[in-house]
C-alpha cells in the first residue's frame, strides 16, 4: 500500500489559518478507506517553514507527496514542491485543486517538479493514481483526469474525468488528521454574526457542488460541470471554462441525511458549535431540488437535536447556548422568505450574498441573474427572518462608471451597509480571465506567473479589467466611497470627463463589449500551448 504525504500549502498568509482544506480532508479519508498509509502535514496551519518541512519530507520514505489548493496558494505550492523534489527524489509528486485545474499546461510548465496533475475532481482520479503506484506502474496517461509528462518532454492531458454522481458514497472528511485543537478550533470565530463571533469549535462542510449562475468573475474549480475539454488545431487537448455564451454546469448535492449525519458525527466527536457551509450557492440546490433540499436538511437538523437552544427557547444567543449554529451562501433572486425562516429556525446565523453592485447597468453585464431590486428584497427578507445578510460588493467591473459608484453609495446608505468592496479580479478559470487575458498579461509584462504570484485577496488590487478606471483611480474611488465623500468624487468626475472628452450629461463610460477581444485571446492561448 502506498505511503502518502499530503501537504496543505499556505493560503491567505496575512490572516490566521481558519479553514481545514475540505478537498484534502476528503482525499485523505478516501486514501485511508482504500487501505493506504497516510500522513498530513498542514503547513497552512503550522506555518513553520522550510526547516520543519525538511523534517517532514525525511520522516519516512514517501511514495506520494500530494499537494493542492486554490490559485492564491501558488507561491507556497511552488516553494514546497521544489523542496519536496530535492529531498524526496523518488517520490511521485501529485498536484491538484483549482490552482492546477484552471491552467494545467502552464502550471506543469511553471512546476517541473510535479509528476502528475489531477485536473478537476480528485475523488476517483487520485485513488486510481494510488492504485497505479501500488502496481508499481507510472502510466498516468491511462488515467482519466490527469496531465502528465511525455517521454519527449511534452505534456499529455488524458480523457476528461466524469464527475462523481453518488456523492454520499464519499467517506466523512479525515478531520482528525488536521490540528483542530491546536490551530483550527482556537480560530473558530467568524466575524459575520453574533453567533459566528462566539463560535468556539467550528468546522466547515461542503454539501453541494455547482451553481446555476454564470458570474463572469467566478471560477468553479472544474468540479461544477464548468470545465470542457476542447481539441485545438494541433489536435491537442485544451481545458476550457466559461466563455461568452458558452456555459456548462452540473448540479450535485449530498442527501439531507448525509449532511445532517455528518454534522451529528462532528457534534458528537468534536463537540462543534458552528458549521460554515462552503457551498458556492445553497439556493441553487434548493431551487434545483424543487424547494425540498434545504427545508429537509433543516427539518432533520431540528429532529437530530442540533437546533440551537437560544432559537428553541426564543432567547438571545449567548455562551450558554447549546446546539449548532451555521452559515452559508445565498442568492438574491433564488431565495424566498419561507426558506429563510426555515433556515433561521434550524440555527442559520448569517448568509453571504454576492450582491456585488446596486447599479442596474453593471448588474446586467455580470451574469448574476439579479437586479438592485432583488438585492434589496432579499436583504430585507433575510433580516426579517432573523439572519444577518452579508452584503459583498465589488467595484472595478468592466463597465463600472461614476453613475454606478453613486448608485452603490446610495444603496449602502439606505441599507446600513458597511462595506469595503472587493476589486473585480479575473482569477484564472473565470470568464473574464479568458476574455481579458491579453489585457491582464500586458499589466504584468506578459508574465503570467508574476500575475499568479500577485493574486491574493480581491481586497488588494491586481489586474484591472475596468474600461473606465485604472488601478490608482479604483483605489482612490473606493476610499472615497467608504467615506461617502460625494464632493471629492464629483470633483474627480469633472476632471475625468475632461480627460476623456466626455461631456457633462453623457454617460461617464468608455465601455465597449469585450467579446471582440475573445478572438484575439484564443489565438494567443493556442500559441502559448503549442509554443
Amino acid at each position: 500500500m502506498a505511503k502518502i504525504l499530503f501537504v496543505n500549502p499556505v493560503v491567505r498568509e496575512e490572516d490566521d489559518p481558519r479553514h481545514v482544506p475540505y478537498g484534502i480532508a476528503l482525499l485523505a479519508a478516501i486514501a485511508i478507506r482504500d487501505g493506504h498509509l497516510v500522513q498530513v502535514y498542514d503547513e497552512n496551519a503550522w506555518r513553520k517553514g522550510a526547516q520543519v518541512l525538511h523534517s517532514v519530507f525525511n520522516a519516512d520514505r514517501w511514495d506520494v507527496i500530494a499537494i493542492g489548493g486554490i490559485t492564491t496558494a501558488y507561491a507556497s505550492i511552488k516553494a514546497i514542491v521544489q523542496q519536496a523534489r530535492q529531498e524526496c527524489p523518488n517520490a511521485t509528486i501529485v498536484l491538484g485543486g483549482g490552482v492546477l485545474t484552471s491552467l494545467p499546461r502552464e502550471m506543469m510548465g511553471f512546476l517541473p517538479e510535479v509528476d502528475v496533475g489531477v485536473i478537476g475532481e480528485g475523488f476517483i482520479t487520485f485513488p486510481e493514481i494510488l492504485s497505479m503506484i501500488d502496481a508499481d506502474a507510472r502510466d498516468w496517461a491511462s488515467i482519466d483526469g490527469t496531465i502528465s509528462r511525455t517521454a519527449d518532454g511534452g505534456l499529455f492531458i488524458s480523457g476528461q474525468r466524469a464527475l462523481l454522481q453518488d456523492l454520499d458514497s464519499l467517506p466523512y472528511p479525515a478531520w482528525d488528521l488536521f490540528p483542530l485543537e491546536e490551530v483550527y478550533f482556537p480560530n473558530s470565530q467568524v466575524l459575520f454574526s453574533e453567533e459566528g463571533m462566539l463560535a468556539r469549535r467550528r468546522l466547515d462542510i461542503n454539501m453541494s457542488y455547482g451553481c446555476s449562475l454564470v458570474c463572469k468573475y467566478c471560477y468553479h474549480l472544474g468540479i461544477a460541470g464548468d470545465m470542457r475539454y476542447e481539441t485545438d488545431e494541433n489536435q491537442e487537448t485544451q481545458v476550457a471554462f466559461d466563455q461568452p455564451k458558452n456555459y456548462t454546469r452540473s448540479i450535485r448535492y449530498h442527501s439531507p441525511e448525509y449532511v445532517v449525519g455528518l454534522v451529528k458525527y462532528a457534534r458528537e466527536k468534536y463537540n462543534i458549535d458552528f458549521v460554515v457551509f462552503l457551498d458556492e450557492n445553497l439556493m441553487t440546490m434548493d431551487q434545483y431540488s424543487k424547494r425540498t433540499w434545504m427545508s429537509e436538511i433543516c427539518r432533520l437538523w431540528v429532529a437530530a437535536g442540533l437546533q440551537p437552544t437560544c432559537i428553541r427557547d426564543g432567547v438571545e444567543h449567548d455562551e450558554h447556548c447549546t446546539g449548532v449554529h451555521w452559515s452559508g451562501t445565498s442568492h438574491a433572486t433564488l431565495c424566498n422568505p419561507e426558506i429563510l425562516k426555515i433556515m433561521r429556525n434550524a440555527g442559520c446565523s448569517h448568509l453571504v450574498y454576492g450582491y456585488e453592485s446596486f447599479a442596474r447597468h453593471v448588474m446586467k453585464t455580470i451574469g448574476k441573474g439579479a437586479t438592485p431590486q432583488t438585492n434589496m428584497r432579499s436583504f430585507f427578507w433575510t433580516l426579517e427572518a432573523g439572519i444577518r445578510p452579508i452584503p459583498n460588493q465589488i467595484i472595478g467591473f468592466p463597465n463600472e462608471d461614476f453613475a454606478a459608484i453613486y448608485d452603490n453609495m446610495e444603496a449602502w446608505k439606505k441599507l446600513g451597509i458597511v462595506v469595503k468592496p472587493f476589486f473585480a479580479t479575473p482569477y484564472p478559470g473565470s470568464e473574464w480571465f479568458t476574455v481579458y487575458r491579453n489585457r491582464i498579461l500586458e499589466q504584468y509584462d506578459g508574465d503570467l506567473e508574476s500575475y499568479l504570484l500577485d493574486l491574493g485577496d480581491a481586497t488588494r488590487i491586481t489586474a484591472v479589467i475596468s474600461h473606465n478606471f485604472n488601478a490608482v483611480e479604483l483605489l482612490g474611488l473606493r476610499e472615497l466611497m467608504l467615506n461617502f465623500d460625494y464632493k471629492r468624487i464629483r470633483a474627480y468626475e469633472q476632471y475625468w470627463r475632461k480627460n476623456h472628452g466626455i461631456q457633462p450629461g453623457e454617460p461617464s463610460t468608455l465601455y465597449r463589449d469585450p467579446v471582440q477581444e475573445v478572438a484575439v485571446t484564443r489565438i494567443t492561448q493556442q500559441k502559448l500551448a503549442t509554443g
Binding site: 496575512e14 490572516d15 459575520f192 434589496m376 427578507w381 460588493q393 446600513g416
Partner: protein, 62 residues
C-alpha cells in the same frame, strides 16, 4: 512525539519542530497590526436599516 504531522500510521522518524525564535514585541505588533489592515469588511449596521420600503418590489431579474 511531535503532533505536527498526523496520520494513520507511525512514520519512521519523528518530525522535529523548528526552534521558533519567539517574536519580538515589534514583530508581534506588526503582525497583529497587519491583520487589522487587510481583508474585506461587509456587514449591516442594524441600527441604520430603513425597514421594508423596498421589500414589496417584485421586479424580476433580467
Amino acid at each position: 512525539m511531535s503532533t505536527l504531522m498526523k496520520g494513520n500510521f507511525t512514520p519512521a522518524h519523528n518530525v522535529e519542530d523548528a526552534p521558533q525564535q519567539a517574536d519580538t514585541l515589534e514583530q508581534r505588533f506588526e503582525k497583529e497590526a497587519l491583520k487589522k489592515l487587510g481583508g474585506s469588511i461587509a456587514f449591516v449596521s442594524k441600527k441604520k436599516v430603513l425597514w421594508g420600503d423596498e421589500a414589496d418590489n417584485k421586479d424580476e431579474p433580467e
